[in-house]
């Protein structure tokens, strides 16, 4: 391999053109490879558009070697389920190369021949340097000429990077035939993924050495020449292939130093718009500039004023790496190729990585974090060769694709390449510590992570850590969260998003090295926010808008008013801290730094423990208001007023839509304290007939999860009594008959009531009756009303019931009706007396563990309620769903704001394929894959028994309840469940479409248009009206005077009306109602009952004669039923609206 003479001023063109500087890729190989159809190998790294062959391991194997593959799958993959799904996915995403790129080969060949035929720029040379065969311009005078000429004759503007070339420079622009044309990138590797909107083929045009000079690496000279070269190619293609291609300029990966030409085939009429595009990328010959001069620590952009020694100049890593990467296209192609030969799983691992990155919003583009599939692939390829301790390789070639993928994720999560740069095979270079990651690839002399920023790297590592946890989760299948879910959706990923404009004026002096104003601003902003917010946030990410392509005629991409999105993940433990402690006053240096950073906000304070610290005190308020205060102060302090005024905060609105969001936790706490008193009172009772075992709370109000937080006062007792269970020690004295047990409970309750009243005269108690129609179920409860206004509803738990009911169900002599009753009673028993206490305990524990669980549950309940599903979907089911979002938050971490929690809940519901998939919540983190699979089996069994899903629809299991039906037995029905899913799907779609522009109110808007009829409750009785009255502020003295009306505790006429309607028309109408807000009851006729039937006695609904009497058919009498509903409601119904 002959080296380029390093001291050549003007490279000889003719010889270099055909010379074998890159010996293994002759310029005509493109043609030859089109004809050959042999496998790619190292000797022909640049082969390209061969007809794709299906990879042997790409299709999911469905052969008979199951024994083997089963063992194989369990060993080399996470689980067989995981492997099978990965196979399915890979088969799905792999584009059909033949179909997708039909005609691509011809197009490439055509482009190649056209580019090769472009004449060296004679026209210019004639006038300026007549003796040379190619166009030469000395930049100083000729840059304007060149621009003008190309503009005039071809209407092509040279895409010079900023800063524009200097008029006084003394070097020349030229065009000569490219030394080589190659296809690189994932097209050659067959590592493309569908669903990337338009697939692109990268065509690299290697510029001849002849047009460059030795010092061209300095001061953008190389890039100016490159731009001119590109413009010439654009001109050439435009001249000859105007009909076939539309041409545009673009910045490759958003790097403004790398303009490229994008050729999109113009669609023929018979075909749909083209599915691919060709990126024409000018590249440098590999050894044009010496690697050592362009290391990340070197400076290549000399400041204009001083020409000091190199050591004093700041390094220009981005500029250097951009230049190096231009020379490395073929080198990396070779590297990736050898890796794919070396390891069978390499290509698939790259595909997995590509999907993983894309779902997390990463890409090679600078605005997408600068870590895309190219970086992933080269990362993997390099780690196959080395990177470990003592130069050992991190990956083994024998790894399966999944193992390789996981190893890379692990490597990313455990290694901090910013504080400890990784140098691969470059013994004389040791990297420097910085906040940007470095993975220096010695042989190719490039930091492959040069496009990354501190924040994108932090984000990448965070994602890698989360994914590693997911992949290590033994019990649950995490396939979906690893590859399918899009985790980068801002409202689900981040707790708060700040949008702020990029200020026009600069806040710090421009530095050398290619760093734009906006980039400098973001770096500065990131530093300020990171220091200012410290441990309040876990993650800060900055995103600027992606650069777009521009027409060859215009001078550059049109930039809309630039704005920056700063996304933040809160740390719920610290985010609403009111006082920040800084360094102690004695630590002078630190204190001074603190004061400088915070300005007037920093104040010296003495704390209780005697320490005197620099500190910051913030105004109390909600999480978001504190956060906003801090951020706007920081921006005002470090930038200016204008920037801080442009600040917009996204994410707060969700929290605000909860009723009494500010005081709720206090209200829950008050009730809990009242409960503790109640528990103590009961325990202290003397003279109870049996020994007390325990009291257990089972009310949403006692586990921080009711929509309305419990509020009570002596004058206004608690509206809904809080349910509590009491259990006594076992005794043989209970009767051996279920009905008799229920009656005995009444006597017990009467006794407890009178004992309580005796012990404390201020307590009021009364025994009430329930379940009058169901003799086998619990028939009585005791309301205990405290003077403070706290009300508890006590029921007795007796574990004999279960045995007796089961005996009844098993007994063959029981008549079917009684058995049905017994089954219903047994399920109610299990729910109320066994499941609910455990559930209550778990939820309330986790509400303490996750401060955001309670508000998220309440908001989710509110959503269900607004959509009138609260009668169908039990509160506990909603709580289970939300708890699962917190306990198995993958692919994210547990939500740290109401917004993320709620939107992820919506997403879960919209994606929940409840026909096949159970919801499983592991409260204690102790479930094993065996438990999970047995729950799955149970669901399958249910579906086999009851494929129509008439009995069991949703299956929601937890570690307390593996039957999965404790809270879904009573509903939702299939209709309601389908409606739930449909509503969630449309809501989630709205969230996705609107992005940060989402108005959360639109998610909570009730619509009654879909129902057959709507019963409007008269305002006097409507729930929201009564709520308004309750919250109305009364004068204190009036309040004291008025007697508390204990009679009305627990009285809810609308609920009574609704449950009566549901009982009466159980078969013919499905009712929908919102408990909290709405003043309507909506109904749907059962479509099965609308058709006329022949007459029989005992129809389950009111009928009338249908059509001709002689047919003897009857049908449902809708108008009579509606009148019945109106009569039953009496004064409570104001209007019935019939939609259909």
């Amino acid at each position: 391999m002959s080296h380029i003479p390093s001291k050549r001023r003007k490279l000889d063109h003719e010889t270099s053109h055909e010379s074998d500087k890159i010996p293994k890729s002759p310029s005509n190989e493109l043609d030859s490879d089109f004809d050959k159809d042999e496998a790619l190998d190292l000797d022909a790294p640049a082969t390209t558009a061969k007809q794709p062959q299906p990879h042997s391991h790409s299709q999911p194997k469905r052969t008979k070697d199951d024994d083997e593959s089963a063992l194989y799958a369990a060993g080399l993959y996470k689980s067989s389920m995981f492997k099978l799904q990965v196979d399915e996915m890979l088969a799905e995403v792999r584009p059909n190369y033949g179909k997708r790129f039909s005609g691509a080969d011809d197009a490439l060949r055509q482009l190649k021949s056209v580019i090769e035929a472009i004449e060296d720029r004679e026209a210019l040379s004639v006038s300026i340097v007549p003796s040379t065969k190619y166009a030469v311009l000395t930049l100083g005078q000729q840059v304007t000429d060149a621009t003008k000429l190309l503009q005039k004759s071809h209407k092509v503007t040279i895409p010079f990077p900023d800063p524009r070339p200097d008029k006084n420079a003394a070097y020349k622009l030229a065009y000569a035939r490219p030394s080589n044309i190659n296809i690189v990138g994932s097209y050659t590797l067959k590592a493309m993924v569908k669903a990337d909107s338009v697939l692109s083929i990268d065509m690299v045009i290697v510029m001849p050495e002849s047009i460059f000079q030795e010092k061209d690496y300095l001061n953008y000279r190389y890039f100016y020449k490159r731009s001119y070269y590109l413009a010439c190619i654009a001109t050439g293609i435009q001249e000859t292939l105007k009909e076939q291609f539309s041409l545009e300029f673009e910045h490759l990966n958003g790097n403004t130093l790398h303009p490229i030409l994008v050729a999109k085939p113009k669609s023929n009429k018979e075909k749909s718009p083209s599915s691919y595009r060709i990126n024409i990328i000018p590249a440098a010959p590999q050894n044009l500039f010496s690697e050592s001069k362009l290391r990340p620590t070197k400076n290549a952009v000399r400041p204009k004023e001083n020409t000091g020694t190199e050591t004093t100049l700041p390094p220009t890593p981005f500029y250097n790496a951009s230049l190096r990467s231009d020379a490395n296209f073929e080198a990396y192609l070779k590297l990736l190729h050898s890796a794919s030969k070396q390891s069978a799983g390499f290509v698939d691992a790259c595909l997995l990585g590509r999907i993983w990155l894309r779902q997390r919003g990463f890409g090679s583009d600078v605005s997408e974090g600068g870590f895309g599939h190219f970086e992933w692939a080269s990362f993997t390829a390099l780690l196959l060769k080395g990177g470990g301790s003592k130069g050992h390789s991190v990956l083994s070639p024998g790894y399966s694709s999944y193992q390789t993928f996981k190893a890379i994720v692990q490597f990313l999560s455990t290694t901090d390449l910013a504080s400890k740069p990784l140098i691969y095979e470059s013994p004389d270079f040791s990297g420097i510590k910085s906040d940007v990651p470095v993975f220096y690839d010695g042989p190719r002399g490039q930091n492959i992570l040069y496009k990354m920023t501190p924040w994108s790297y932090a984000l990448l590592r965070d994602e890698a850590k989360a994914s590693l946890d997911m992949l290590n989760d033994a019990a649950f299948d995490q396939f979906e969260s690893t590859f399918i879910l899009r985790t980068s959706q801002p409202l689900q990923r981040y707790d708060c998003i700040l949008s702020l404009p990029v200020p026009a004026k600069a806040f710090d002096p421009p530095t050398c090295g290619h760093v734009s104003h906006a980039t400098r601003f973001s770096h500065r902003l990131f530093d300020v926010l990171r220091e200012g917010l410290s441990d309040r946030v876990k993650l800060i990410d900055l995103r600027s808008s992606k650069s777009s392509s521009w027409s060859t005629k215009s001078s550059g991409p049109t930039l809309p008013g630039q704005s920056l999105l700063v996304s933040v993940v809160f740390d719920p433990a610290n985010i609403d801290r009111l006082v920040d402690h800084g360094p102690a006053a004695e630590e002078k240096k630190k204190a001074a730094k603190f004061q400088k950073f915070w300005g007037e906000k920093a104040e010296l304070r003495r704390f209780k423990d005697g320490s005197i610290l620099e500190s910051l005190v913030w105004k109390p308020g909600s999480t978001y208001s504190i956060f906003q205060d801090i951020v706007s102060y920081l921006i005002k302090r470090h930038f200016d007023e204008e920037v801080s005024q442009g600040l917009r905060l996204i994410g707060e609105s969700f929290e605000k839509s909860l009723p009494s969001s500010a005081t709720s936790s206090k209200l829950f706490e008050t009730l809990k304290q009242a409960y503790n008193i109640f528990e103590k009172n009961v325990k202290d009772l003397e003279g109870l007939p049996l020994q007390l075992r325990q009291l257990s709370a089972i009310s949403p109000q006692l586990r921080n999860s009711s929509i309305d937080p419990p509020s009570f006062s002596p004058q206004r007792p608690l509206k809904t009594p809080a349910d509590v269970l009491i259990q006594f020690e076992g005794s043989g004295r209970w009767p051996d008959d279920i009905v008799a047990i229920q009656r005995t409970k009444i006597a017990f309750l009467l006794k407890i009531g009178s004992l309580l009243q005796d012990a404390d005269a201020s307590i009021t108690t009364r025994v009430g009756l329930e379940n009058e129609d169901h003799k086998l179920q619990n028939c009585s409860f005791l309301d205990v009303i405290y003077e403070s206004g706290a009300v508890f509803r006590l029921r007795i738990h007796n574990d004999r019931e279960q045995t007796l009911l089961e005996r009844m169900i098993k007994d063959k002599s029981t008549n079917p009706r009684t058995r049905e009753e017994a089954v219903a009673a047994s399920s109610l028993y299990k729910r109320t007396f066994i499941q609910l206490p455990l559930f209550n305990q778990s939820i309330s524990t986790h509400c303490t563990r996750f401060p955001l669980l309670s508000p998220t549950i309440r908001l989710a309940k509110l959503w269900f309620d607004r959509h009138m599903l609260s009668g169908h979907v039990s509160e506990e089911l909603i709580e289970l769903i939300v708890a699962s979002i917190f306990l198995q938050p993958y692919p994210w971490r547990a939500p740290s704001s109401v917004m993320t929690g709620f939107l992820r809940t919506l997403m879960f519901i919209s994606r929940w394929d409840w026909r096949l998939v159970p919801l499983i919540v592991d409260f204690t983190g102790t479930m094993t894959s065996k438990d999970v699979s047995s729950i799955n089996t149970r669901l399958e069994a249910w579906r086999k028994i009851d494929p129509g899903m008439n009995r069991t629809v949703l299956f929601a299991a937890s570690n307390h309840d593996t039957t999965g039906v404790a809270f879904t037995d009573k509903g939702p029905s299939r209709v309601a469940a389908a409606r739930m899913t449909a509503l969630a799907v449309s809501a989630y779609k709205l969230v996705k479409d609107k992005g940060v522009e989402l108005d959360q109110r639109s998610l909570f808007a009730t619509s009654t248009a879909d129902y057959d009829f709507v019963v409007h409750i008269s305002p006097k009785f409507a729930a929201d009206q009564r709520r308004k009255e309750a919250s109305k502020h009364k004068f204190k003295n009036l309040e004291v005077q008025s007697e508390a009306n204990l009679e009305l505790v627990g009285y809810d006429p609308i609920q009574l009306y609704l449950s009566e309607l549901e009982k009466l028309y159980a078969n013919s109408i499905v009712f929908f109602h919102s408990e909290v807000s709405s003043s309507v009851i909506a109904g749907l006729w059962n479509p099965q009952h609308v058709v006329p039937r022949s007459f029989r006695v005992n129809m389950p609904y009111a009928t009338k004669v249908s059509g001709d009497l002689e047919e003897g058919k009857i049908e449902i009498d809708k108008s009579a039923i509606l009148l019945e509903i109106a009569r039953l409601g009496g004064d409570m119904v104001s209007r019935i609206e019939v939609n259909r």
Binding site: L71, A195, P735, I746, L1056, A1102, E1124
Partner: protein, 308 residues
Amino acid sequence: MAPQETSTISNFTILPILLPPSPALSHPTKTTHTLYIRPNNPKIPTEADARSVFVVNVPVDATVAHLKGVFAHLSGGVVGRVEDVIFEDQSPIPSKNRTAIVDRKRKREEEQEDLAQSQELPCTWDRETRKSGGNAVVVFVDGRSMEGVLKSVRKLHKSKAYPLWGHGISSKVPALGSSRYAAHHALRYPDPRTLQRNVDAYMTAFNAGEMQRQREAKRLRNVPDEDGFVTVTKGGRVGPAKAEEAERMRAEAEERAKVRTGEGFYRFQVREMRKVEQGELVRQFEEDKKRVEGMRERRGRGGFRPET
């Protein structure tokens, strides 16, 4: 009795009833509710059959007064022809204004019924509702009144003078709507003394029944049945085996057996264990395969495509 064709449906006579309009619903025409009636003819005949009518499709808010009103209208405004109305699924507690159909001849029976009444929990509704589309039996004072009513129903189809539902009885029955629910809420909390008495009565009766049953069982313990077998019942000197106890014993025995030979004691055991494990793995794989296939089928194309 040749029924008119237009007014019957499978041997039921159609009796339309005019419904009072509701301010909540705007109906262009007058709405009727359809009752289907025929002479009562139950499977188990009773003495009163000859003078009672079987009514189908009773409105949910029907009361005795309502139906009395309807039939008074049909009897030409003469009140008092209807002796009683028995609704389907009527709770066994007879309401106060209802007289039992069964002739009570013996006083003892009556006493027993009273006892049973006080054992039942107090009713929590001042007015009960009926199941939609349900039935009722209307008992008339004599057969002639019933015949007359059926006849006038047939005439009704010509005159179209249908009876109005709930006409003139608003004062006789508790009102529907919020006042009914308020009353229900109040009735749910009966007086504790009543409740206590009620429970006491129930438990006394229950215990008496239990005693009776025990005595019976005790008697049976010594009496062989016709095949000469003696039924084993509860209450002997040695209590009968309990199911839980038996289960526990079995588990213990198994545990003991396990300890004796031990798992993986013999080589064949190890081999078998491994085989089982392997088989389990293969089975799992097969199962997973089926599940994934099921997913693919259900989701169709693009089911495994990453979300965009």
